[in-house]
């Protein structure tokens, strides 16, 4: 196991270096460089411009610049952003990364769960109306033109029905006299949400797996789950954070729903296909012959095995959902990594664009790595010695 992990980690680092190299040379190959931005300004004398070039290291060769960039990247020195002038790139990215991360994690988990539920139902009722309807609707959302879909959702829910806030991350008027800075509240929200999620998971794990499955135990599980949520809400209320947390959370609802809508079909269709294969296995027929109820055969016998390929696809869909993330964040003005990437690219803010692109890669690589481990844990058939499981 450890050898496998070390091997994967080595691959991740190597891939990261290659990725950063590609990003760097791609941006290097673009026309123009930083000093040319000041060419039109007559108040900068030639000497000052040369001095600037020297300070920025632009008088050295490309290879030296590249090596410098690599060294700086790994020591966390990404330069200073032009468009947010005095702030270093690292600072901006560190502020944005958790926001993107939270948005994605929520949307991914939701869409995976929705796809898993629907997929096993429509596979079970293959050839019925439900199957066709869910497939066609799912494909339509999956291939929907996302910018427009998000506009339509904003228009319906925020503009016409006024149920949800329009856009962005927070409501500025509410936060004017707020006793807490936004990022602190967001931090509490993330940690609190994480703690609640872990608590809920443990409760359900203990009651539904470890203990006997009876109506009484199920009721107890639900009760303690509600108790955990209530305690968390009470703590938030006492500290006066609840209003602000609700503000951020309500701003998250629309983007999360959009991301879920456009991506649940992928899991659903894959789950359907993989269920259709497992349903033909002998052990499923044995379970049926034993006289077990249909739902138990479906959920506990067939779906468990059929889930594995969807986990792989979850890994493979990460990159494309990152692209979807750029669109979603831009459309909803959600101040995350994708939005900053888009704005910096349009504003010719090279350090920020490079940094954001590189960070997107880092984010994806880490997610890839985690998903790989998850897959290895889920599937007992995989041996850690040889090739990674995704291949072949």
């Amino acid at each position: 196991m450890r050898r496998y992990l070390l091997n994967r980690l080595g691959q991740v680092v190597l891939t990261l270096i290659i990725y950063i190299t590609l990003v760097y040379f791609l941006l290097q190959a673009m026309p123009g460089d930083i000093t040319q931005m000041y060419l039109a300004n007559p108040r900068i004398p030639q000497a000052a411009r040369e001095e600037l070039q020297k300070q920025l290291g632009l008088d050295q060769g490309v290879v030296m610049q590249y090596l410098n960039y690599l060294k700086n990247f790994f020591s966390g020195e990404l330069g200073v952003s032009f468009s947010h002038y005095p702030r270093p790139v690292w600072d901006i990215l560190m502020e944005r990364l958790p926001r993107t991360f939270v948005l994605f994690l929520t949307a991914h988990v939701l869409s995976f769960y929705l796809g898993y539920l629907l997929g096993r139902i429509i596979a079970w009722r293959r050839g019925k109306v439900v199957d066709y309807a869910a497939t066609v609707v799912g494909i339509t959302f999956w291939t929907a033109f996302y910018p427009l879909l998000s506009l339509v959702l904003i228009w319906v829910f925020a503009y016409t029905l006024k149920l949800l806030p329009l856009n962005q991350f927070i409501e500025p008027r509410l936060w004017q006299g707020a006793p807490f800075p936004t990022n602190t509240v967001f931090g509490y929200m993330v940690y609190g949400g994480g703690a609640v999620a872990v608590g809920l998971f443990l409760v359900f794990y203990a009651f539904l797996r470890g203990l006997k499955r009876s109506r009484r135990n199920t009721a107890r599980a639900w009760l303690s789950a509600f108790a955990i949520i209530a305690v968390a809400l009470a703590v938030a209320w006492r500290t006066g954070l609840l209003v602000y947390i609700w503000d951020i959370a309500s701003h998250m609802i629309l983007p999360v729903c959009t991301l879920t809508l456009i991506s649940f079909a992928g899991t659903m269709l894959l789950m359907r296909d993989s269920m259709l294969e497992t349903v033909q296995e002998d052990y499923v027929m044995a379970a049926r012959a034993k006289g077990l109820p249909d739902t138990i055969v479906r959920d506990r016998y067939a779906a468990r095995t059929a889930m594995l390929p969807t986990v792989t696809s979850l890994v493979l869909s990460l990159a494309s959902s990152m692209s979807g993330g750029l669109v979603t964040e831009t459309m909803f003005s959600w101040p995350g990594l994708g939005q900053i990437l888009f704005h910096s690219a349009l504003a010719n803010d090279y350090p920020l664009a490079t940094g954001a692109l590189a960070f997107t890669g880092v984010f994806l690589l880490i997610a890839h790595f985690v998903a790989d481990i998850l897959y290895a844990v889920l599937d007992p058939r995989i041996t850690y010695a040889g090739q990674p499981a995704v291949e072949g």
């Binding site: 791609l26 066609v136 999956w142 427009l148 016409t160 690219a345 690589l365």
Partner: protein
Amino acid sequence: MWKIRWKLTVRGLAQNWAVFRESRVGMLGVVIILLFGVFGALWPIMINTVWDPLVYHPVVGFDPMVLHPSPPTRAHLLGTDPIGRDILAQLMFSTGREFLLGVLSALITVVIGTVIGTVAAYYGGFTDTFFMRVADIMMLFPFIPLLVVVGSMVRLTFFPFAMILGVLGGFGGITIILKAQALSVKVRPYIDAARVAGGSSFHIIRAHIIPNVLPLSFLYMMFNVTSAILSEATLSFFGVLNIDMSWGMMIHTADVAGYLFDFGKYWWLWLPSGVAITLFCAAFYMVGRGLDEVVNPRLRKR
């Protein structure tokens, strides 16, 4: 000799078509694609006979008789856009372009993917490892953010953009899937027989491995058409492409002019092109799903 081969090909196609026809989702996709084909083919006829090119040209046309953007009228069945161009004409004109873009880039992807996949499977060793690692990296690449960054610095035009999409896709995940398929072909006895009979590596790859991988390549081509068109639409919408007219561009035009803020009132500016993009992509995806049942016998009904 070629007569027999031709007959066999026709018979194989007929059988596959029979399987494909059972998939209702796939047939729905085919019907939608055919409708779009007719719609696109109407364009040259309409502009040459019915419509006045000065008024109905999709890029430089202008109708001086009405205020723009005008809601649907008899002269402009789907209304006009903020600078006075006919929406229906734009929609029709773009259909052909979208077909070209999608099919061209998917074709490039599939050709590259098939060649690399089969070669990697046949030779194995270094070639295999190299291309598989390249594919791993390509799968990591967030394409849309990357193309946004590239596009905001160099405005890409139609053909280079289709090429870039095709080539980037060709080295990506598709090679892994096609390689797995080619590997399963490579171990069959007739490959050994061909080698014993004195067939060169090139001959074996061309005449025995590639024909057996092609159905799967064709299937992935459908999915690639979808993703190519969606990428084009998204990037055009953000205004980072240098394309004069496309469905994404139509929405972009409405967006820059500020008409998307009043969404419900100016519905004709975004609805036709939005529906067109979604339906068109969904249709190719559905055909892909239908083909999946042909290629993958385990999915068929018992």
